[in-house]
């Protein structure tokens, strides 16, 4: 065997072993990974009614139990919870942290949820209401139980397009990375909050969400949050989403405008009219 032939032989053998090792490792990884059922187009089937089951909507970070409004007693108290932020803390810029604290002080009147305003992304996902994924052929629609909120995830655009106008829910473009649905969301108006504790983002918000089925009734939801006006670096939240298993599960109307009108317009009622 010439030197050249030897080199080629050993290189080939090494490659073959390498490929074998990689294949073996991948095989091992795959055997422990859940393989989700497929939609008609061969992509993972995410259709269904899902819900987060945590206290992220109260506070994305660790938080103890707290009293609510005195008149609502234990019903209105804030349940304790462990944070969903990777690394524990949201990396605010100093001036943004001050604004977050101010938001917290004013939360009973300033939180958009109090006013039944659209929830934005990612908050829509972990509000305490179910949401439904309808996986269409060119679009995936996500319909949230809260406030008639919904999003269209455009699956038929090769590249994210700029939003035609800034909005509460932004514009979402989706793609598949393996078995994960990756949604790129931008074009937000900067009005939405991230939770009831005053965590917020601006109109520079860019969210990349990852929806991965990890079992017949579970998904992992991850969202990377980037907003240079408010945070010093991108940060990530993650949580499981659970399928609503009730046989008659459905998204029911929660048109909360009516529940916020007294708060918003009560001072404009004709004084002689009884509440």
């Amino acid at each position: 065997m010439s030197n050249h032939a030897k080199r080629t032989f050993f290189a080939s053998a090494a490659s073959a072993i390498g490929i074998f090792l990689i294949a073996g490792a991948t095989g091992a990884a795959q055997s422990s990974r859940y393989v989700p059922p497929r939609a008609a187009d061969g992509k993972p089937d995410l259709n269904g009614i899902w819900q987060a089951m945590n206290t992220a909507n109260w506070d994305l970070e660790d938080h103890p139990a707290l009293a609510g409004l005195p008149q609502t007693g234990a019903i209105g108290a804030i349940p304790p919870g462990q944070g969903v932020v990777e690394g524990g803390e949201i990396p605010y810029r100093p001036e943004a942290l001050a604004k977050k604290k101010e938001n917290l002080q004013r939360r009973l009147t300033a939180d958009p949820e109090v006013k039944c305003y659209l929830p934005g992304v990612p908050r829509a996902t972990y509000l305490p209401y179910p949401f439904q994924i309808i996986q269409g052929t060119k679009q995936i629609m996500i319909v949230y139980g809260y406030a008639e909120a919904n999003r269209t995830v455009h699956m038929d655009k090769p590249k994210p397009e700029p939003a035609p106008i800034d909005s509460w829910m932004g514009r979402s473009h989706g793609r598949w990375e393996g078995d994960t649905l990756v949604v790129d969301a931008a074009g937000f108006n900067g009005e939405a909050w991230l939770d009831r504790s005053g965590n917020y983002a601006s109109d520079s918000l860019h969210v990349v969400e990852r929806y991965t089925r990890v079992g017949p009734e579970h998904m992992t939801y991850e969202a990377t949050i980037e907003d240079p006006k408010v945070f010093t670096r991108p940060w990530k939240i993650s949580m499981p989403l659970y399928r609503r298993l009730e046989k008659n599960a459905r998204i029911l109307e929660f048109r909360c405008v009516e529940f916020a009108e007294e708060l918003l317009y009560g001072h404009l009622r004709r004084p002689s009219i009884q509440k």
Binding site: L118, Q132, I134, K138, R250, R255, L264
Partner: protein, 345 residues
Amino acid sequence: MSRPPFKAVLRCRNQPLAALGVLALLVGLTLGSTSATEQTQGSVSGAGDSKVARTPWGDPDLQGYWTTNEMHGVPLERPAALAGKTTLTQDEALKRREATTQGTVTAEGIGNYDRAFRDTALGYTKQRVSTQASLIVDPPDGRLPAMTPEAEKRAAAARGRQGRRPATWEDLGMWGRCITRGVETVVAPSGYNNGVQIVQGPGYVAIQKEMIHETRIVPLDNGPAPGPKLTAHDGIARGRWEGDTLVVELTNFDGKVPLAGAGKNLRIVERFRRLGADELEYRYTVEDETVWTRPWTARMTMSRDAAQYELVEYACHEANYSLTNNLSAARAEEKAEEDAKKGRK
């Protein structure tokens, strides 16, 4: 026409509710009229067309962005002047729509939105125009059936409440309050934002009305209706395919959003069907024996223009300045009247 306008009409953003009366009149006219039997109006009709596009899982494919702009100006009931006529000529239909598009713009000024607000004037949607004499196609005279005596009484009372100075937000209507555009899955078009988005998944159809971003999710298992204690403004939907037609039954209404005077006992059966590559037919049959002596059916067609039309978030409640402005104006007027009275004493 003696019937009241059935819906308050207003744009939720920045519009003076003072224009409500004018708009309500406009919509009253739009909604308040009829036509007769089958009107296919230049459509390719025919049930169970095997060539209809299908989803990968085999259901008829209704997906896309549709608009009802072609129905702009078609009244709910057929006007007396069109008695005996189910369709207009193309020329008459164009004139009718132009009159509606022109709205209340006069030489003296703008009574409400001018052409710049009106989708039919903007030219970015298909300019097909419906020749239907009215939305109602049954009864054959194109008019709402006779009301029961009790319903007549309620309608008269409702007429008495029209146009009063608002004491609270509740006097400003479900549309004005950005709560719902109406109980039908697709409502008669107004001047703008008449888009309808349909997305389908296996077992479900989602239908979004552009205005107020309301989305109806229709499960296709045709399961039983929930019990009577579970009610909703827009009812609860159950669906099924009959051939290539999507049939949606709406029940469990709470009665807070009346449809032409009917509320709690409403039952609506809707039918969606493709008429061609870019046309969809929507029919709805309304029953409420406590209001009408017989059911009635209305029909609309919708067009698709995927290249140009897309739904953009219609965040209505979030910017409903008109509601605040109207209530504060009403309180200011009352204070001025009060002060004037005191001054006279």
